[in-house]
């Protein structure tokens, strides 16, 4: 499972980076979203994957029984997903506005502010 | 969209969905739910209403500007952390009051509920502000 996840994360990072480096703005945004997904999966995997062990305290017990899935990374990912969602929404609106004002989707055309 | 069926059903659905969103918000403390999800449900209901009728009707129904609703929620959530500091504890420390009903049942009311309600309002406010603005832009 770990190997599979590692491969998946690698593929996500690679494709995200590839998309970011493309010239199209839409692909740039997709690439950024892929990068944040990759980071989220990375956090998820780093906390050791465990099957069928939800971090719930059973009836009548006072503490968690030993092998259990770590709930902290899941909380982190949840936060990161919500933030990522907001950022993606903003980015989508922004490229829409950029397209409206500049009339192009090509990042190479946006060079007037470079020095 | 101009559909008689949608308009008729939306009238019923709106109140049902709003009630459901409040239910989701209230059960959020120890069960799946909470202010965020409740707020999203309410926003979805309002969006449905905007689909069936139009954006102006929804704006009129909300009375306040969506962003003002968000501001109100933000202020509420912020204030919910203050009672905890009265006894010298840290910000956001929970304070609870127990309400005894005549039939012996207990209702626990606490500052986290106020916080959740604040989040609920923020999500409705921001969600409606974004969606309604986008819908208006397309209508132009």
């Amino acid at each position: 499972m770990n190997t599979l996840m590692a491969l998946l994360i690698g593929i996500l990072y690679a494709s995200g980076m590839y998309m970011v480096l493309r010239r199209s703005m839409v692909k740039l945004i997709i690439g950024l979203a892929l990068l944040s997904h990759a980071a989220n999966l990375l956090i998820f995997t780093m906390a050791t994957l465990r099957r069928d062990r939800p971090p719930l305290i059973g009836e009548g017990e006072t503490a968690l029984a030993a092998p259990y899935a770590d709930p902290v990374p899941q909380a982190l990912i949840l936060t990161a997903i919500v933030i990522g969602f907001a950022v993606s929404a903003f980015a989508a609106i922004m490229i829409h506005r950029v397209y409206q004002t500049t009339g192009t989707d090509d990042l190479d055309q946006l060079h007037t502010t470079d020095s | 969209m101009n559909s008689l069926i949608l308009r008729t059903t939306t009238g019923f659905l709106l109140s049902l969905l709003m009630l459901f969103s409040v239910y989701l918000m209230l059960r959020g403390h120890n069960a799946p739910g909470g202010g965020f999800i409740g707020g999203l449900t309410a926003t979805a209901a309002l969006t449905l209403y905007a689909f069936a009728f139009d954006v102006a009707t929804v704006r009129k129904m909300l009375r306040l500007d969506p962003l003002s609703i968000a501001g109100l929620g933000l202020a509420l959530a912020l204030c919910s952390g203050l009672p905890g500091m009265v006894g010298g504890d840290a910000y956001l420390t929970s304070r609870w009051a127990v309400l005894l009903l005549p039939d012996g049942a207990e209702i626990h009311l606490g500052t986290p509920l106020l916080f959740d309600f604040g989040v609920y309002l923020v999500v409705i406010g921001v969600g409606c502000a974004v969606l309604l603005t986008m819908a208006e832009e397309r209508g132009e």
């Binding site: 950024l32 980071a39 990375l42 907001a86 950022v87 506005r97 502010t113 020095s115 | 109100l72 840290a90």
Partner: protein, 493 residues
């Protein structure tokens, strides 16, 4: 204690909420913004006084003890940064009364500034790495909207570069957090520091340190990751770019200081060497970029980059004196750089252009403003006895004590080039007559914040002794992470 720590976060949030409630009335929002920033500054000063007298202040939100709860902690550096944030916030709020256009105000300029300030203060006060990420996102979201607000063509172009690079940096930060969590199973900085010291994986630690350096380096705009800054800062309204110039890159520098004094203490020699090289290149490349520019805010943007290099020097050397230099430099730089951007706005208002070729005649028309420009400009270049001189003097001395001759030579040469840039602005915008023969218009209210910040620069310059002592004390605190760790993990219940 609890109240003092949360106030710098809650006050801007409350102000933003009130601004949203008064969404329809721009005038109310304007004054709310000023009042909120003033309250923030007052609360920051109170926090600073508390930390100065009683040592590190800690508060655990909801009384959930560290390392599980949300920890807020302020040591001297953190409290000092919050005070500086308050100063910049107040100055920019007042300045924007006379400079920001009503269209932007209608679309939430004032609440966004407050949210940005909240994010900045949160980042300075948090004791938890994941919360640092969240505060970074809060301030980034506010800054994204402020960058794009207005929607002019140049602005949108600048915004897309700014947003992209910062999102990449956030993704790297998040990945680094994940790896760190996998290694230590904790995110509380104090706790992570203890756990890392017990582990013995130098290779992994170095890898993590480099990841954090890259993530914060992009935000702090160090070489070679600074390109977003000069491509975007000159496209925004002056109030916004002054706010960004004063605070945003400095949050990156602060995060670097925090992480490299507290979390990664040993075993990261590789990163220290990397930092030295990066500091040299940042200084040199930034200042050379500025020499080629003829637009006032572009020149200033490149100088931000070059000045960040100075701050990294102290961090890379990591001697008490060098670190004190970095703290001193941070304080000096935030005030001076914000002020220079404010001046650039006043110049553009008076002469009609940010382009140096198209402006002029300001000295004859407004000698007062010219004088007010000279204070921060000469301070930036490091002319004694202004604040910049002392900052550079301390860093150069620390460099010589550590035997880093190349570093010292670069730092001094960069100083000369900075002087050239400032003289260029002086002779073009102030000294030469206006190319179109216009008489520069008066700038009225804009002079207020500029004069106040120039006075602060003079105050730091002439009253250097207490400021220096403060910098030394905070450097000692930074170099003794044990006191921070004890304060956080064994806070009074």
């Amino acid at each position: 204690m609890n109240l003092l720590l949360v106030a710098p976060i809650l006050l801007p949030l409350l102000t933003a909420a009130l601004c949203l409630l008064a969404w329809k009335s721009v005038r109310v929002q304007r004054w709310l913004g000023v009042a909120g920033s003033a309250a923030l500054l007052a609360s920051a000063l109170a926090l600073f006084a508390e930390v100065h007298v009683r040592g590190i202040a800690v508060s655990h939100a909801g009384e959930w003890a560290a390392p599980f709860g949300i920890t807020l902690a302020a040591d001297l550096l953190g409290a000092l940064m919050v005070v500086l944030g308050g100063i910049v916030g107040l100055m920019v709020s007042v300045y924007s009364l006379g400079s920001i256009d009503e269209g932007r105000e209608r679309f939430g300029f004032h609440p966004l500034v407050q949210i940005l300030l909240m994010g900045v203060c949160g980042a300075f006060l948090t004791g938890d790495l994941f919360n640092l990420y969240v505060w970074f996102e809060v301030l980034l979201m506010a800054s994204f909207v402020l960058t794009a607000l207005g929607g002019e063509r140049a602005q949108m172009e600048g915004a897309i570069k700014y947003v992209t690079l910062n999102l990449v940096s956030s993704a790297i930060f998040l990945a680094a957090l994940g790896l760190l969590y996998g290694l230590t199973h904790s995110l509380n900085m104090a706790d992570v520091s203890l756990r890392l010291a017990r582990l013995n994986y130098p290779a992994l630690e170095n890898l993590l340190a480099v990841l954090f350096f890259i993530a914060f380096g992009i935000k702090a705009a160090v070489f070679p990751l600074f390109f977003w800054l000069p491509a975007s800062y000159h496209t925004m309204p002056v109030s916004v770019s002054a706010l960004f110039a004063g605070l945003l890159t400095k949050v990156g520098v602060y995060a670097l200081i925090r992480v490299f004094t507290l979390v990664f203490r040993d075993d990261v020699e590789f990163v220290k060497e990397l930092m030295l090289v990066v500091a040299c290149l940042t200084m040199a490349v930034g200042v050379l970029g500025a020499v080629a520019q003829m637009e006032m805010r572009r020149i200033l943007s490149f100088h931000i980059v070059s000045q960040i290099g100075y701050m990294i020097i102290g961090l890379a050397l990591m001697t008490p004196l060098a670190l004190a230099g970095t703290v001193f430099y941070l304080a000096h730089h935030i005030i001076v750089k914000t002020n220079l951007f404010l001046v650039s706005g006043a110049v553009a208002r008076a002469t009609g252009s940010f382009e140096l070729k198209k402006s002029g005649g300001l000295y004859a028309a407004q000698p007062g403003l010219a004088l007010l420009f000279l204070v921060p400009a000469l301070s930036l270049a490091g002319i004694p006895p202004l604040s910049g001189f002392w900052g550079k003097y301390i860093l150069v001395k620390a460099g010589l004590e550590s035997g880093q001759v190349v570093l010292v030579v670069v730092a001094l040469a960069v100083s000369v080039f900075t002087m050239i840039s400032m003289m260029k602005i002086w002779s073009e915008a102030f000294w030469k007559p206006h190319p179109l023969g216009l008489t520069p218009a008066p700038v009225g209210l804009l002079n207020g914040p500029i004069a106040a910040m120039a006075a602060m620069t003079l105050l730091i310059g002439f009253g250097v002794e207490p400021v220096m002592q403060l910098a030394e004390r905070s450097a000692q605190q930074l170099l003794d992470p044990q006191s921070y760790i004890t304060a956080v993990l064994e806070a009074r219940r």
